[in-house]
Every structure is written in structure tokens, then in C-alpha cells.
């Protein structure tokens, strides 16, 4: 017996395997996301292997390099026509590569670059035990005020993990507006939310407040995630698929094939409406729309200010991107079902944010409520349900992020013995003491208020115009009233800075390093350029306003 026959006696040839096709992934088109994720992983490794002394420089360099490379990838894709003619759906239907996705990814990356510069700022606080310190806790795990913390501070530890964490969050945000099925949407949401919860908790000063903020954000965020997930399940029951295109097809009746397992539920409108409402709630929570806004003031106030700026800008961009895609791709046929609800949400968001902001006495909380009011203005543009609605929202998001990050960067400069002096009474007379800083902050406030010649006005005009053309004239009127109310409290801060006498024990303005200076300069320049000559950027947003389906 030869070997072969012996072998065949105790083995039997298996059935030929059904080949599992390898998933087809367009790596090049996903490069913006992949670069950031890769850099985040490298950052974690750097935490483990680079000596403590070299970590800060390594992390900052790696982060900025990754963001620059990612932005280059976005630009290359856009230049290659992926935003317009070659727009398509990549990664087995999970990710859309189209105009809005690329525009928003570009915006998120640029906003992140500016925000990361404030993360890296180490000149504002005086050196502690001879070590330079930034806005983050020496050792986040140490009990606040405990011996362990003191030891960590003495040893000059710094939480350089914030950089990889921020990169993970950015990666999630890049995917979020591009997600083309509900599961990817959910995963992207979690990928950017979890690092943000952590980042909120690591403030160097007022640590208990920071941890409280993080806990609140986490609990409420977990709730909203649960709503979102439940909604996704219901929509799956309705359409038999989580893909946007298929759901849209089932909604408008062009996809009729019934999955036998789901024959009972498919096409059931109750599932669609409830499921969709739940998904919408999850997203409205992230954009901070009333009545899902409760977390915003506490979290904005408690989080380290650089993180607040980053979160306020980038999260909003990502979440509005996802919201736009969901409403315009999945439910264009259901306009009449979601529009009345969104009208209501937009109106209460605009008015609620503006009215409650009047009573605020803390600058960070004030900016938080102002961000709620701005979410309302953005929703007015979303509701337009026209291409100019999309482009106006894209433009507004770009304009708003830079104003926001700039404003929070200024907040980090105004300090007293207890760290940042965020109580409004301490800002009295700032214009006398530091005219330049006060003037810059005034520019940001005027942009928030939508005064002409600033980016805030261009953006507001764009969304209101889109809303009026889309038949939402009443929303424009409410928006105008809310703007008038909002103007009141922005102006109040300006009055305080310029027309009040400075107090003897008032805060000082720290002289920042080149990093924060760059951030603030970028904010001012973008604010003025988008106010005076917005045409190029409006064109860009206009070209990018077609979703692929």
C-alpha cells in the first residue's frame, strides 16, 4: 500500500468549501479615516514605549502629522472628483464617499487641528514643581486631592493620552457623517463618544467638577445611544436591512422583496415612524437640540476648556452631517412626516437656547446655551429640504466651528489663582486691561450674534435664505427673534468687558505660546474672511451638497 491509499483510509476528502468572498475595501478612499485611526494606535504604543520625557513632543507631532496627512487625503479625494462625479459608496455599502462627506471630513479635520493646538498649550499655567503643565490632570486615575495625585504632580506626570484619545474621537467623527448604514452610524457614534467622555473627565483643575461632567455626559450619552440602537432595530424590522439605500427603497416602494423571516413586520409604518423617531432622538442629543440638550451646559462647563471647544465644534459638525444624510438619503419621501416635528424642535431650540442663555453667569455655560441656539439655526437650514439647505448648513458648520474654538481658546487665557476665571463678573473691565484679547473675543461674540461682516452673518443669512426658499418663512421669523434675544447676552458680555471698571482682584490674561495664538488667529481670520468674501466657500459647499445614494 502506498502512502496515499493508507492516508485515504482514515481521512476523507471534505466537501469543497464554499468560498467566503473577501470583503472589497477601497483603502485609498477610506484613507482619511484610516490614517487617523492608525496614528491613534501608534499614539497608544508611544504611550507604552516612548520615555516619559519624550511623550509630549512625540504625541503632538504625531497627532498634527496624522491630521495633516488625513486632510491631504481628503483634498486629494475631492480633487479626484470623489465629491462630485465619482461619488459612490465604499466598503461594502458601509461608507459613502461623496461631497457632503468629504466637505464635513475636511471641516472636522481643520477644526481638530486648531483644537489640538490648544490641547498642547503649556504656557498658561505657571510651572508646577519645575514641570510645564497643560490643561489636563497629572494622573487622571488618582483620587482628586489625594497623596497619589500630589506624588504624580511632583513627578511631573502629564496625561499625554489625550492626544490618541482625541485622534480616536476624530476618527469616529470622520466616519459619522459618511456612514451609509445604521450599524456603521452606531459604531461611529460610540467610537467618537467614548473618548470624549474620557476627555471630559481629565481636567487638571476643578477635577471633581470635571469628573461629574463626564459622568453626566456618559450616562445621558448612554441613554441616547440606547434610543438610537433601539430605533435601528425597529428600522431593521421595517426594512429588513440597515442600509440607507434599502430603507429608502422600502419607504418609497421600489424595493419590494420580502425577507420571509420579517414578513410579519416589513413595511409596517408604525415601526418606521417609531424607529425613525428614536434614531432622530439619538442624533438630536448629539447636536444638543432642545429638549435633548440637558447635558450641554454642565458638560461644557466641567470639561477642560480645550476639550469643550473641540467638542462644541467637531461633534456638532459630525452630528449635523449624520442628521443631514439620514433625513435627505433615507427619508426624502417622508418629508411631510418629519418636517412638522423638526419644525417644533427647531423653534424650541432657537428660543430655548437664546432665552436661557440670558440668565447665565458663567462664560462657559453661556457659550453652551449659545451653542444650543445655534443648533436651532442650523436645524432651520436642515428643514429646508433643498440642495441650498444642505450647502447652507455645510457652510454654517464650517463658519461656526472656527468661531467656537477661537472663543473657547480665549476663555483659556483669562485666569486667576484658581485657574480659568469663567465667572462673568470677573471679566469686567477686561477691555481696559487687555484691549487686544477683549477685542478678539468681541469679534467672536459679534460673529455669534450674526453681525454683518462676520462669518456668523454669512452663515445665518445662508440658512435663513434656504429656509425661506424651502417654504419655512415662519422659521425665519422665529430665527430672527431668537437672534435678537441672543444678541442681548452677547452684547452684555461686550458691555462688561469694555464699559465696566476693572476690579482690583480681577483675573490676568496669560500670555499664550505660539500654539494658542495660532488657534485664535485662525479663528479671527476665518471669521473675517467668511464674513467679507464668503463666495469661494459657498461655492465649495454648493458643489459638495449632493448626497450619493
Amino acid at each position: 500500500m502506498n502512502a496515499l491509499t493508507v492516508h485515504s483510509m482514515w481521512t476523507t476528502a471534505a466537501e469543497p468549501l464554499n468560498k467566503i468572498p473577501a470583503p472589497k475595501i477601497e483603502y485609498v478612499q477610506l484613507a482619511p479615516v484610516l490614517i487617523v485611526v492608525g496614528a491613534a494606535v501608534l499614539g497608544i504604543l508611544a504611550e507604552a514605549f516612548v520615555p516619559r520625557r519624550g511623550r509630549y513632543v512625540t504625541q503632538v507631532f504625531l497627532t498634527l502629522l496624522a491630521l495633516a496627512a488625513s486632510f491631504a487625503a481628503v483634498v486629494a479625494l475631492a480633487a479626484g472628483g470623489y465629491g462630485t462625479t465619482k461619488a459612490h459608496i465604499a466598503a461594502m455599502g458601509a461608507i459613502a464617499v461623496d461631497g457632503p462627506a468629504l466637505f464635513l471630513q475636511g471641516t472636522i479635520i481643520l477644526a481638530s487641528v486648531v483644537a489640538v493646538l490648544t490641547f498642547a498649550e503649556r504656557r498658561l499655567d505657571p510651572a508646577d514643581h519645575g514641570h510645564k503643565v497643560d490643561s489636563f490632570a497629572a494622573e487622571a486615575a488618582a483620587v482628586p486631592g489625594g497623596d497619589h495625585e500630589k506624588a504624580a504632580v511632583k513627578a511631573g506626570f502629564t496625561t499625554t493620552e489625550v492626544f490618541p484619545l482625541a485622534l480616536f474621537a476624530i476618527a469616529g467623527m470622520l466616519v459619522f457623517p459618511a456612514a451609509n448604514d445604521l450599524l456603521t452610524l452606531f459604531i461611529a457614534l460610540e467610537v467618537f463618544s467614548l473618548p470624549l467622555y474620557l476627555l471630559c473627565a481629565v481636567a487638571r483643575r476643578k477635577r471633581l467638577m470635571s469628573q461629574e461632567a463626564a459622568l453626566k455626559y456618559f450616562l445621558l450619552g448612554a441613554f441616547s445611544s440606547a434610543f438610537l440602537l433601539f430605533g435601528i432595530a425597529l428600522l431593521y424590522g421595517y426594512a429588513g436591512s440597515v442600509s440607507y439605500a434599502t430603507i429608502a427603497g422600502v419607504v418609497d416602494g421600489s424595493v419590494g422583496s420580502v425577507d420571509p423571516a420579517l414578513a410579519q413586520t416589513m413595511g409596517n409604518d408604525a415601526l418606521l415612524l417609531i424607529g425613525f423617531a428614536l434614531v432622530l432622538m439619538g442624533l438630536l442629543f448629539k447636536v444638543g437640540a432642545v429638549p435633548f440638550h440637558m447635558w450641554t451646559p454642565d458638560v461644557y462647563q466641567g470639561a477642560p476648556t480645550p476639550v469643550t471647544g473641540f467638542m462644541a465644534a467637531a461633534t456638532k459638525v459630525a452630528a449635523f452631517g449624520a442628521l443631514l444624510r439620514l433625513l435627505y438619503v433615507v427619508l426624502p419621501g417622508l418629508t411631510w412626516d418629519w418636517r412638522p416635528v423638526m419644525w417644533g424642535v427647531a423653534i424650541v431650540t432657537m428660543l430655548g437656547g437664546a432665552i436661557v442663555a440670558i440668565t447665565q453667569t458663567d462664560i462657559k455655560r453661556l457659550l453652551a446655551y449659545s451653542s444650543i441656539a445655534h443648533a436651532g439655526f442650523l436645524l432651520a437650514g436642515v428643514i429646508a429640504a433643498t440642495p441650498s439647505g444642505i450647502s447652507s448648513v455645510l457652510f454654517y458648520l464650517g463658519a461656526y466651528s472656527f468661531v467656537t474654538i477661537g472663543a473657547f481658546a480665549v476663555v483659556t487665557l483669562v485666569r486667576d489663582a484658581g485657574g480659568e476665571a469663567t465667572h462673568l463678573s470677573k471679566w469686567a473691565g477686561l477691555g481696559r486691561r487687555s484691549p487686544l484679547v477683549a477685542a478678539v473675543f468681541a469679534v467672536f461674540l459679534l460673529a455669534f450674534a450674526g453681525i454683518p461682516l462676520t462669518s456668523g452673518f454669512s452663515g445665518k443669512f445662508a440658512v435663513f435664505k434656504a429656509a425661506a426658499e424651502g417654504g419655512a418663512g415662519a422659521l425665519v421669523v422665529v430665527g430672527v427673534i431668537a437672534s435678537a434675544i441672543a444678541a442681548f447676552f452677547y452684547i452684555r458680555v461686550i458691555v462688561l468687558m469694555f464699559f465696566s471698571e476693572p476690579k482690583a482682584d480681577g483675573p490676568t490674561v496669560a500670555v499664550p505660546s505660539v500654539l494658542t495664538t495660532l488657534t485664535i488667529t485662525a479663528g479671527v481670520v476665518v471669521t473675517l474672511v467668511l464674513g467679507l468674501a464668503p463666495q469661494y466657500f459657498l461655492d465649495l459647499a454648493g458643489q459638495a451638497s449632493v448626497f450619493v445614494r
Partner: protein, 528 residues
């Protein structure tokens, strides 16, 4: 491409403002001279505009047009008609005097920090306001106009709130609080007006698809652009509301006495003589030009509001104890005349209103600036604190009297011509309104002469005894203004030549012709 004269006229003060603001803290005097020279250069440019403008020519001249924000249908379009030319001239003429009058108003206190540069800020802000006001008189694009209309609030706001009158009755803190209250009130009133106009501007875009004044008017005239009656009326109201706040018309006037009372005299002049004119100017150019039918629909109500402004402003002026607030209420009364003239819809009324804008600017500037000099000497704004000044400071008292007489429209001084034209124009169409408006003149005589009598005549008060007369700088401010008042009072032709053709265009916008005087003709017929 021809020389962009209009852009340059506005750009010179704008660039001057930036340069002035950049002057180092120690070089205060240099900043003042720089600002003054820039404002004089602007005056020369405004003179050029006046010279190059041909009264009989096209409606909008020296036009410029460039693409700006395509997505919003916005173009950078400039052009002046006679009304614009007259008001640009007024603005450019008054600013140097405003600066000269406020030469020391913004000198920093000894205790201020070294980096605080209020003087540079004061003069830079004045130039900024001048640039924006001039450009708004030139804009023929509604959006461009709107942007300037709103943006000029910000420098004005800082001028009112940041540089208050050092003469006040209460403590420093109290004064600061009142001042910032006045500044905030000014800003909020005007901002709310502006935002309501924004809604109307957006509405106009959804109807017309662009913002060009000339294109929209043309499309409306030849019927390619139809506006539903209701839509037109709503849009008209949105625009008119903003202009009525700015003008200010009763009952939206309450910010003016606060702002003028708390601001320094030069800034008060800036508010009432220059910036507020943008409101009445815009009524003529935009309300009548864009919404002729709605303007006629609203005329009865607006005429009544204007009459209330005239009488109410004058009555309150009679009752004031504070000199600056008195002048503020007098201005409200005068703005009533301007609005009345515009909406009388006769050519005399509208030419009169335009002349009135110019003359009121000059006469109020003269009166207010002299009042400012007076107040700075005594440190009080209350009428009761003065008495017998004419014995101590005769030149001051004399110029104050001339300013006052101009305010009450004495024949021979410029405001008389315009007030007479407004009344004639109003009589022709609304005789009853003309009668009521005439009471404004009587009341004006009352408040001006009583003011003069109480402050300047009578026994010399102890605190006033050592009051110095006008200094050369102050005389240099007042004398030219009085000269202009006299000149335009006896020879208004250069101004009327420029204004009249523009008014004819406006009249044809609304499709109205002057009512023919019927009675005399009938008499002639009867005589035959």
C-alpha cells in the same frame, strides 16, 4: 474702467480708521491729526463727487458694479443720486468739526493702564462710522446697504458706551451704569429693527431673486416681476420698521434721548446729524423705490405717526430740564418733519425733506456742539445750573443763539427753506396735516427761546461767573457751521439743483404727480 471715486471716498476713512487705531499709545496727538487729515481728505473727495455729479444726467451716476457673493445674488453696486450726493456732502462736512469739537474728549485719565488707547479708539471709530455711512449712501444693492446699516451700529455703540459725557450729576459709577444702559438700549433697538429688516431682505430675495435696486425697480416697472399685494406690504413693513427705529419715529424713538444725553456732544451729533439720516434716506430710496404701492397704502398711518413725532417731540422738549435731552427731543420733532415731507408724496415735500436732512444736520451740529462747550465748562447738563452766561461769555451765547434760531427755522437760516418746503408740500396734499405740523414751529420757538432765556440771560450765577468764552479751537468749529447755515439760508440753489431731479425720479417711482392747485384755477375760470 473709470476711476472708482465712490469706493475711494468710503475707503479713505476706512483705511484711515485702521491707521489711526494702529498709532502707538504714546502718540495721541499724532493720532488726532492723522484722523483730522483723513477726514479732510474725505471732504475733498466728497467735493469731487459733488463736482462730477451732473444734476440733469442719469438717475444713478458714478456707478460701480462688481460681483461679490454670487450665491446670495449680491453684488457690490454703488451709485449716487442727488439725495445721496447731498448726504455724502453733509457727512464729510460734519466729521472734521465733530473731531475738532471732541479733540480732548477721549484723552485717557492719568490712572489708565499704558496699553489702554482710548484716544486712538475714539478717532478711529469716528472714521469707521464715516466710512460706513458714506458707503450706505452709495449702495444700490439692498444687501450691501443692509450690511452697512447693521455694521455701523457696532462702532456707534462703542462711541456711546465707551466715551461718555464727563459732565453728569451723580457718582462715577452711576454715570457709567447710565452710559452703558444708553449704549445697550441704542444697540438693541436698532439691532431688533435691523433683524426684522433681515427677514424682509430674505423675503425680498425669495420674491425677486436678486438685490439690485435698479434691476428690481426695472423688473417691477415693466411687469416681469409681480409682487402680491400682501407680500409687498409685509416686506415694506419689515424695511420701514428698521428705518423708523433709526430715524427715529414715534413710538420707536425712546432710545434717542438716552443715547444723546449720555454720549459726548460730538458723538451725539454723530448720532442725530449723520447716522440717523441713513434711516430717512433709506425710506426715500428703498421704501418708496422698492415698494411704491405699499408705501402709498401705508401713507395715512405714517403721516399720523410723523405728526405725533412733531408735536410730541416738541412738547417733551419744552418740558426738559437737561440741555442735551432737550436737543434730542427737538430732533425727534424734526425727524417727524422729514418723514412727513417724504410721505406727503409731493415734489416740494420730498425736496424739502432732503434739504431738511442736510440742514437739520448742520443746525443740530451747531447747537449741540456749542451746548457741549457750555456743558464742559460748568460740568452740568441741567438748565437750572446756568444763568446769565451771555454777560460772561458773549460769543458762546451768541453762537448758541444762532444755533437755536436755526433749530426754530428762522427765515434767513437754512432750515427755514426746508421746513417751508415740507409744509407747502404737505398742505398741497393733506391740508389738515399741514396745519397740525405748523404747531411744531410754534413749539420750537418756545423750547429754543426758553432754553436761551434760562441759560444765557438773567442774573449771572455764581458758578458761571468765571466761565471762559469760546477758545479758538471751539470757534473754528462753530464759525464755519454758522457760515454754511447762513449761506444755504439765502442761497439754497446749489443744493436744490442736485436734489430736485432725484426727487422727480422718486416721485415717478411711486407714480404720483403733484396735485395741481385747483382753487385759483377755478377762480380764474369764474372770473372769465
Amino acid at each position: 474702467m473709470s476711476f472708482p471715486l465712490l469706493t475711494v471716498t468710503a475707503a479713505v476713512p476706512a483705511v484711515g480708521a485702521i491707521l489711526t487705531a494702529a498709532v502707538p499709545a504714546g502718540r495721541r496727538t499724532a493720532a488726532k491729526w492723522l484722523a483730522l487729515l483723513v477726514s479732510l481728505a474725505t471732504l475733498v473727495l466728497a467735493g469731487l463727487v459733488f463736482a462730477r455729479f451732473e444734476p440733469g444726467g442719469d438717475r444713478y451716476q458714478l456707478t460701480e458694479s462688481h460681483a461679490w457673493i454670487k450665491d446670495f445674488g449680491v453684488r457690490y453696486e454703488l451709485g449716487v443720486d442727488g439725495i445721496g450726493v447731498a448726504l455724502i456732502g453733509l457727512t464729510a462736512l460734519l466729521i472734521p468739526f465733530v473731531m475738532l469739537a471732541g479733540w480732548h474728549d477721549a484723552d485717557p485719565l492719568e490712572t489708565s493702564s499704558k496699553r489702554w488707547r482710548p484716544t486712538q479708539g475714539f478717532f478711529a471709530l469716528i472714521l469707521m462710522v464715516e466710512a460706513m455711512v458714506i458707503l450706505s449712501f452709495e449702495a444700490t444693492d439692498v444687501f450691501l446697504f443692509y450690511i452697512l446699516f447693521e455694521a455701523m451700529l457696532i462702532p456707534m455703540y462703542f462711541l456711546i458706551g465707551g466715551f461718555g459725557d464727563r459732565a453728569h450729576s451723580g457718582s462715577d459709577e452711576n454715570a457709567a451704569a447710565q452710559r452703558s444702559y444708553a449704549a445697550v438700549k441704542f444697540l438693541l433697538y436698532n439691532l431688533v429693527g435691523g433683524l426684522i429688516m433681515l427677514a424682509a431682505v430674505i423675503g425680498l430675495y425669495t420674491v425677486a431673486g436678486n438685490f439690485s435696486l435698479t434691476e428690481i425697480a426695472e423688473a417691477r416697472a415693466n411687469g416681469t416681476l409681480e409682487m402680491a399685494t400682501g407680500t409687498e406690504r409685509w416686506l415694506f413693513l419689515g424695511f420701514f420698521f428698521a428705518f423708523a427705529v433709526k430715524a427715529p419715529l414715534w413710538p420707536l424713538h425712546t432710545w434717542l434721548p438716552n443715547a444723546m444725553g449720555e454720549a459726548t456732544a460730538p458723538v451725539a451729533v454723530l448720532i442725530t446729524a449723520i447716522v440717523d439720516k441713513v434711516g430717512t434716506f433709506a425710506m426715500l430710496r428703498f421704501c418708496l423705490g422698492l415698494f411704491p404701492e405699499a408705501s402709498q397704502w401705508a401713507t395715512p398711518v405714517i403721516v399720523v405717526l410723523a405728526l405725533i413725532s412733531i408735536v410730541y417731540g416738541a412738547l417733551l422738549a419744552v418740558g426738559q430740564r437737561d440741555i442735551k435731552r432737550l436737543i434730542a427731543y427737538a430732533s425727534i420733532s424734526h425727524f417727524g418733519f422729514i418723514v412727513l415731507g417724504i410721505f406727503a408724496m409731493t415734489s416740494q415735500g420730498q425736496s424739502g425733506a432732503t434739504l431738511y436732512m442736510v440742514n437739520h444736520g448742520i443746525s443740530t451740529a451747531a447747537l449741540m456742539l456749542v451746548a457741549g462747550f457750555l456743558i464742559s465748562r460748568r460740568g452740568s447738563r441741567l438748565i437750572a445750573d446756568y444763568g446769565g452766561v451771555q454777560k460772561v461769555a458773549p460769543v458762546l451765547a451768541g453762537t448758541f443763539l444762532i444755533g437755536g434760531l436755526a433749530t426754530l427755522s428762522l427765515p434767513g437760516l437754512a432750515p427755514f427753506v426746508s421746513e417751508f418746503l415740507v409744509l407747502v408740500g404737505t398742505f398741497a396734499r393733506y391740508p389738515a396735516a399741514g396745519v397740525v405740523a405748523t404747531t411744531g414751529i410754534v413749539l420750537a420757538a418756545l423750547y429754543v427761546l426758553v432754553l436761551y432765556q434760562r441759560t444765557m440771560t438773567g442774573p449771572v450765577k455764581e458758578e458761571v461767573r468765571s466761565m471762559p468764552d469760546l477758545r479758538p479751537r471751539e470757534l473754528a468749529v462753530v464759525a464755519p457751521l454758522i457760515a454754511v447755515l447762513l449761506f444755504l439760508g439765502v442761497f439754497p440753489k446749489p443744493l436744490t439743483d442736485v436734489v430736485n431731479p432725484a426727487v422727480r425720479h422718486t416721485m415717478s417711482d411711486v407714480g404720483k404727480t403733484d396735485p395741481t392747485p385747483e382753487v385759483p384755477v377755478q377762480n380764474v375760470e369764474a372770473a372769465k
